[in-house]
């Protein structure tokens, strides 16, 4: 197991290096620079700023300097937020994105699993049909549609939750719902599918024939096997939720990593784009590794194939 962890972490180094290199040259290829504004700065000021940040040097020199800083754990000063380093901005915004992703993850599991179990138990009855239809519809509802609809319906219509900010729990309600509902639909479908497969097996019939109550059969005997696909999905899903929240953060004006990334892309804030992209890459690698470890822990058969 330790061998696997070490090997995967070593593999991450070339991936991150590639991300850093590709991103660096991509954003320098993009037209415009960090100090190009609609009302142009005077040439002297522009020159002074470029000289201060070393933007006049050839790309290769800038690239070498960036890599050098990166190896020392410094992501450089942000061009779009003068006076702040990228390290500071990330330290402020990363916890917000992680919190948002975690809440949405918890929400999707808490809502999806019980509904999925119940829908499987009531297969072909009205409850199952409603759940299946709603979850199919939910899968086609992107967050940038769901977010505004929730804003309109809940916040403006009923006065529940706030439409922007990240302070009280009321601020968190709508973003978490927006991010979590679509994934709850996935969890519901996976749970239902897994449970249906298990519920048709012989040992369930035996358990029922023994006279065990419906609840015991469902939650003690069937759930363990029925949840395998959900567990396989839940790990990568957490990484998708934490790194994929930039639309939700943009809609609800949440000061998280995703909003910084989108704004940095607009403002040509070179160092901030690089820093956030690298962090996203690292997050995805680490979380996928954790997901694989969790799977191996739950399903011993997988351990052999991984090593």
């Amino acid at each position: 197991m330790l061998q696997l962890i070490i090997r995967r972490l070593l593999q991450a180094i070339p991936v991150l290096f590639l991300i850093a290199t590709a991103t660096f040259f991509l954003i320098h290829l993009a037209p415009g620079g960090p100090f190009h504004q609609e009302r142009p700065l005077s040439p002297q000021v522009l020159e002074a700023l470029n000289a201060h940040y070393g933007l006049n040097d050839p790309w290769i020199v800038q690239y070498g300097r960036y890599l050098n800083h990166l190896l020392h754990g410094e992501l450089g000063p942000s061009y779009g937020h003068p006076g702040h380093t990228v390290n500071e901005l990330i330290a402020q915004s990363l916890p917000v994105s992680i919190e948002l992703g975690l809440w949405a993850w918890v929400f999707s599991l808490i809502v999806g699993i019980p509904l999925g179990v119940w829908a499987a138990e009531k297969q072909h009855r009205w409850f199952d049909r409603v759940c299946s239809t709603v979850s199919t519809l939910g899968l086609c509802l992107p967050t940038f549609v769901l977010g505004p609809l929730l804003m309109l319906g809940l916040a403006v219509g009923l006065g529940i939750g706030n439409v922007c900010g990240w302070g009280s729990w009321e601020d968190r309600l709508l973003p978490v719902l927006t991010l979590g509902l679509v994934h709850a639909a996935y969890v519901l479908r996976l749970t239902r599918g897994g449970m249906l497969e298990v519920l048709n097996q012989d040992f369930i019939r035996t358990a029922r024939a023994k006279g065990l109550s419906g609840w015991t059969v469902l939650f003690k005997h069937a759930l363990r096997g029925g949840l395998l696909s959900v567990v396989a999905f839940a790990g990568p899903q957490l990484s998708a939720l934490v790194t994929g929240s930039f639309v939700v953060e943009t809609i609800f004006h949440i000061p998280g990593l995703g909003r910084h990334f989108v704004q940095a892309a607009f403002n040509r804030d070179y160092t901030l784009i690089l820093g956030t992209t690298l962090l996203y890459g690292a997050l995805i690698i680490v979380m996928n590794l954790m997901a694989d470890l969790m799977q191996a822990w739950l399903n011993p058969r997988l351990r052999v194939s991984m090593l």
Partner: protein
């Protein structure tokens, strides 16, 4: 009783699935509306009518107007053209790249295959949506490059599916017989392998289209995709959000068009999967 060819059998199974047939019909209707609709409407997609700003649906503007007095229906149809064009073109790019990559790796086998798939795994570890956003920042206002960028990152799964399929075909007896008969290589690939690939390729292609359309709409929604005054469903939804309290239909109609199209594409893809490729379980993409 007459026996049915595999194609007829697949068609029978497809026809029996009401969701898939409904999706196909809706898609046909929507695509033809987007293609020929604008020729029959009197308003242009960028024409402003200052006497009718933020109007609700009426006889003059069937689906109302936006904040700049532009006809919503025409903008929706033009936006649909963009969405469909990006969806199909990017899927085409990913199909072609994935098909060649996967088929080559699977058919050649050995070390080449190992290294090619390791390369694909390496690319899998990259944060994709982020990469597409960066690519659109660089290529920016060029609409054609947008779908090349999306297609270029969507081909990985295609390559994997094709490779797995080629590997399983290679093991089968009819192919060994073809090799033993001394058929030339191109004939084996063209006549014996390719026809067996169409099922998964078509199915996965159909499921890639909505994923790509979603990505394009997300980018446009963030302001990174298609640029105004051209319209796209993502832009229209974004514009609708800004005025949703004042005139909810400006949000409602684009949302309805977009979601129904995605839904029918997904239904169509799942129907095709059940008909063409019953064993495989290709998961659709998670929405962003």
């Amino acid at each position: 009783m007459s026996t049915l060819s595999p194609r007829q059998e697949a068609w029978m199974q497809f026809k029996a699935n009401p969701c898939a047939v409904g999706g196909l019909c809706f898609l046909g209707f929507m695509m033809s509306a987007c293609l020929i609709g604008p020729f029959f409407l009197v308003h242009g997609y960028a024409a402003q009518h200052f006497d009718a700003v933020n109007q609700g649906p009426s006889m003059r503007f069937w689906l109302g107007t936006d904040a700049l007095g532009r006809d919503l229906l025409v903008r929706l149809l033009y936006g649909g053209r963009i969405s469909f064009a990006v969806g199909f073109a990017a899927t085409g790019v990913s199909l072609i790249v994935g098909l060649f990559f996967g088929a080559f790796a699977g058919y050649t086998g050995g070390k080449v295959d190992t290294w090619m798939m390791r390369f694909a795994d390496f690319l899998y570890a990259l944060p994709f949506t982020i990469l597409v956003i960066l690519l659109t920042v660089v290529f920016g206002r060029h609409f054609i490059l947008l779908f090349v960028a999306i297609g270029a990152v969507e081909w990985l799964t295609m390559a994997r599916i094709v490779r797995a399929q080629v590997l399983s075909i290679k093991m089968q007896e009819f192919l060994q017989a073809a090799v033993l008969l001394g058929l030339p290589r191109y004939q084996i690939i063209w006549k014996h392998i390719l026809p067996n690939l169409w099922g998964p390729v078509i199915v996965y292609g159909t499921l890639t289209v909505p994923a790509v359309m979603l990505l394009e709409a997300t980018l446009s929604f963030l302001g990174l995709g298609v640029q105004p005054p051209m319209s796209s469903w993502g832009i229209l939804i974004h514009d609708g959000v800004t005025v949703m309290e004042l005139c909810p239909w400006a949000l409602l109609f684009p949302t309805l068009f977009f979601c129904l199209t995605l839904l029918s594409l997904n239904f169509l893809g799942e129907g095709l999967r059940d008909a063409l490729d019953p064993q495989s379980k290709i998961e659709t993409h998670a929405a962003t």
